[in-house]
Amino acid sequence: MQELVAWARKVREDFPILRSLHPSGRPLIYLDNAATAQKPLAVIEKLADFYRYTNANIHRGVHWLSQEATQAYEAARERVAAFIGAASEKEVVFVRGATEGINLIAQGLRRVWFSPGDEILVTQAEHHANIVPWHIVAEEVPISLRPVPLTPAGGIDLAAVAQAFTERTRLVAISAMSNVLGTEFPVAEVAAMARERGIPVLVDACQAVVHRPIRVQEWGVDFLVFSGHKLYGPTGIGVVYMRAPWGEKLPPYQGGGDMIRRVTWGGSRYAPPPAKFEAGTPPIAEAIALAEALRYLEEKVGWDFIQAYERYLCDYTEAALQSVPGITLYGTARPKGAVWSFNIGEIHPHDVGTFLDQAGIAVRVGHHCAQPLMDALGVAATVRASLAFYNLPEEIDQLAQTLHEVVRFFAHTPSAP
């Protein structure tokens, strides 16, 4: 354990923002990692260096800068492909983020896949990013979402999944890890069930990808999306993995430069994927910096460390939170990633959040873009603490101690009016 914590202390130094002080003077304790991760210096410098030394538009230039920028951008695509275990870098499309990724897929499927009455199998724990795009599709092609209910612990039963399939199921779209409960869902098993039925599978890997490397081919999925900013990369970049035949099958999402073969006034012919799905100037610097984040995680931090340390930190956090009187933890199913949602008695999460903030502790409170899950849990909101490999046990101590103070503060009964 001690070596793990020592290494966490060491890599933590790569993150300049973690040395910040809250305006009250207290040191920042950043436990809002599921919303967005902080960036290591390597990523920040890569971004700046791109603009300092290599900036040019890509794909269309004979000049040296443009060639360098193009090479760096395409090398980023290759690194992402290797990271997720894609069969080819041509299956990797750069987008703004997971949300755009799901919308890109949803609008493509709207045009070539769905018929009125079709169903999409989801879990009850989906993020709005995996709900609202389908509602928008449904405004044009009436389809519906069929949520697999969660177990009381916040997991899903494969038996319940099997029951949720109907003859109208045309897509399975599930998150690999809940951003509220932390539950890791059995993606490979669900994908196998879908494959048996000839149904394609889309995975929202936003949260899962942050905690362990994923292998799309082993999972056997057709589509997968994640966001760069949660993976220690910059904002403005995300990834769509699209298994090869789908790249041909889906129509382009946006039209513009670089995604065409030939344009006349009468119509356009499109380039092959991935270009087909990357209209216009892409987030060039962002893709390159995302690749740098992957390099940093692989070569400097180490995924083995991330997994081992986060497991330790999770146990530590669970014990610490359970010591808080009146706490309700949402999501205790295993396996579980480093996300903790909870409420304390009748104290409103917003009050807890402000209290923690004043102690320098950044957590998220609210519905976490998962209102249907909140409805299922019977709450309007929760407090969420989400961890990264740079968080330290003493930060968790601080969290627990402050939560004890919250309890005391609100337990105090004012004298009656």
Partner: protein, 155 residues
């Protein structure tokens, strides 16, 4: 326990949160509206009986944070019995108090009302919480002046 928190959660706020006044529903309301803050899920349901341009009765229900609940409770106590035009003045004064450094309007209100509204003046220092305190007032405005909207949200 930090001094900032003691500032925000004035004893009177905690007291109104704990012992909310006018909780419940007015029977046969003439006006009602729902308030909703999508950010944190604060939810307030107001029912009113207005008679001759005067708020004869007002009650509230809903789940919300301490600031919102206390603000709603306080609001009901100051507007109950007030003329609609008066309630509108209170709204303006309260809004100014929470969003502007200089807030002269509140000084023109009756001393008892002033005193009650001023317990929220430190909320201004917590910009993200301002909406919690103003939600009931926005809801009141919808109930009184834009009943067709039914819902007040803060976005």
């Amino acid at each position: 326990m930090t001094p900032e928190m003691q500032n925000l959660y004035q004893e009177l706020i905690l007291e109104h949160n704990h012992y909310p006044r006018n909780y419940g529903r007015v029977e046969n309301p003439t006006h009602e509206a729902e308030g909703y803050n999508p950010l944190c899920g604060d939810q307030v349901h107001l029912t009113l009986r207005v008679e001759e341009e005067r708020i004869a009765d007002i009650r509230f229900e809903g789940k919300s944070c301490a600031i919102c609940r206390a603000a709603t409770s306080v609001m009901t106590t100051v507007v109950k019995g007030a003329a609609i035009a008066e309630a509108d003045r209170y709204f303006e004064a309260f809004h100014q108090l929470l969003t502007q450094e200089e807030a002269p309007l509140v000084s023109s209100l009756p001393a008892a009302v002033q005193e009650k509204l001023r317990i929220f003046s430190t909320v201004r220092l917590f910009p993200i919480r301002v909406k919690c305190a103003t939600l009931p007032w926005h809801t009141l405005r919808v109930a009184l002046h834009e009943p067709e909207k039914k819902i007040a949200t803060t976005e």
